[in-house]
């Protein structure tokens, strides 16, 4: 199991290590700065940290020595003249536009074991970028950016649309599936040269009735893919939980899952496609835990039934939520970490049966990521 956990927060990057007395904070980097996305590339054991500075914009840093030294990299930049649809009541066609400026790197993933220097970055307002040199330079993926359906995308929570989930097929790195809020599920099977819009069965109650099933406006909050069986994908959607067994071509809605099907985060067991975890909240209009109780829901039969897990979690007066990148699972599938909007951090070593509260004093948590590296100091 993992012995190192990285936690990106509104006020810095906290690295925790597991020792005999439990999980403790081992180091703090970028103290005071919002660290909104993290990615460990196990091809070279490097750690990437995305900062979203309120005044000075998005920054990207990499360390190859566990944080002793950080190297600031180039960030993806939208080309001159790039635009996105501006929200407007103007019925004109084509729709009014506004300049595209990178607001946030919302997702960052290694492009596959057979492409050790390559990265994918998903951004707000909706551009997918690729680096062939570990983040030293970036190029906007034109085939996706140029799709006419992109002008139908819009922001959900954030001002503009964004790519929050990048699933690189562990068996075929040319096959990548994206989750976009609010822009649906997109797939390439040729490394990004062409894209298809997927997701039959997803449902958007926030749209007029005739547009409920329109694929290009679906608000997937988070998309995950099973490592051992990449055709199985789980979506925590704005309108509930959806399950696919055909690589996102079609989805089945799961209408019963413990106290609620609303939420942001989802994890799937890397070795068991039928096991997945969710962190429910009441509903769209009331984004707090049901009855003030933090729980995690788990299915082990592909969504046929759910358990509600609460051991070790606060069961009264709990009003924080877990955002889409605030839940992670380690390689073994037994260890889970969960970070909340008010800095609560819980870790489970047994698949969620019991959780240990590690801290309730951290800043707002954006992202938790287990490291595959083993702690060299661990005795």
């Amino acid at each position: 199991m993992a012995t190192i956990l990285h936690v990106g927060t509104r006020k810095g990057l906290f690295t925790l290590k597991q020792n005999r007395s439990g999980w403790t904070i081992d180091r703090v980097d970028f103290l005071g700065d919002p660290v909104t996305m993290l990615m460990e590339d196990h091809c070279d054991n490097s750690l990437y940290a995305c900062l979203t500075l309120g005044h000075f914009g998005t920054k990207l840093h990499r360390t190859v020595d566990g944080g002793e030294k950080w190297h600031e990299l180039t960030v993806p930049v939208y080309p001159q003249g790039a635009v996105l649809a501006a929200r407007s009541f103007d019925e004109s066609s084509p729709p009014p536009t506004k300049p595209a400026n990178r607001a946030e790197i919302w997702s960052l993933e290694a492009a596959g074991d057979d492409k050790p220097d390559c990265l994918w970055a998903g951004t707000i307002p909706g551009g997918l970028f690729r680096s062939e040199n570990r983040g030293e330079s970036w190029e906007l993926n034109g085939p996706l950016w140029d799709r006419e359906e992109r002008m139908e995308w819009f922001g959900g929570g954030k001002d503009d649309p964004g790519i929050h989930s990048i699933c690189v097929d562990p068996q075929d790195s040319q096959h990548v599936t994206l989750g976009i809020s609010c822009g649906g599920i997109w797939e390439t099977t040729d490394g990004g040269d062409s894209w298809a819009l997927l997701g039959e069965g997803l449902r958007a109650d926030y749209m007029p009735p005739d547009m409920t099933h329109k694929l290009s406006i679906q608000d997937a909050h988070r998309l995950t893919q099973c490592e051992v069986n990449p055709t199985v994908m789980w979506v925590q959607h704005h309108n509930g939980i959806f399950h696919s067994t055909d690589g996102s071509k079609s989805y089945r809605e799961i209408t019963e899952a413990g106290p609620s099907t609303f939420g942001f985060a989802v994890c799937v067991h890397p070795g068991d496609e039928k096991t997945a975890w969710f962190v429910p909240a009441v509903k769209d209009q009331c984004r707090v835990p049901v009855d003030g109780k933090r729980v995690v829901t788990r299915t082990r039969d592909g969504g046929e039934s759910f358990e509600t897990l609460s051991s070790g979690l606060p069961q009264e007066n709990c009003y924080d939520i877990v955002f889409r990148h605030g839940l992670d699972i380690d390689q073994s599938g037994a260890q889970l970490a969960m970070g909340s909007s008010t800095g609560g951090l819980w870790i489970s070593d047994n698949g969620g049966d019991h959780w240990d509260g590690t801290s309730n004093l951290l800043p707002q948590i954006y992202v938790v990521r287990f490291s595959r590296c083993q702690d060299a100091t661990d005795g």
């Binding site: 500075l53 005044h55 000075f56 920054k59 930049v77 003249g81 300049p99 595209a100 400026n101």
Partner: protein, 89 residues
Amino acid sequence: MPHIEFTSQLSQHLECSIGAIEATTLREAFDVVFERNPKVRSYLLDDQGAVRKHVAVFINNQLLHQRNNLEIALPPDAEIYVMQALSGG
């Protein structure tokens, strides 16, 4: 010759030299700064080349209102201050 200074908050993130600068427009002044340290560009300007929403530029105590117009002429004695807008929590 115009003179440029930056908020000390910027030096928390990267080196940004201050002092006299040979320029007749704000764009020329920024270009000199970016030539000295190319990384400064993304801290001050957005992807489309406009001054960032939360960065405030003062020229002789006058706030620059048109964020996408860097062609503004600089008087020879221009004092340029690049500050951060007050926001956050």
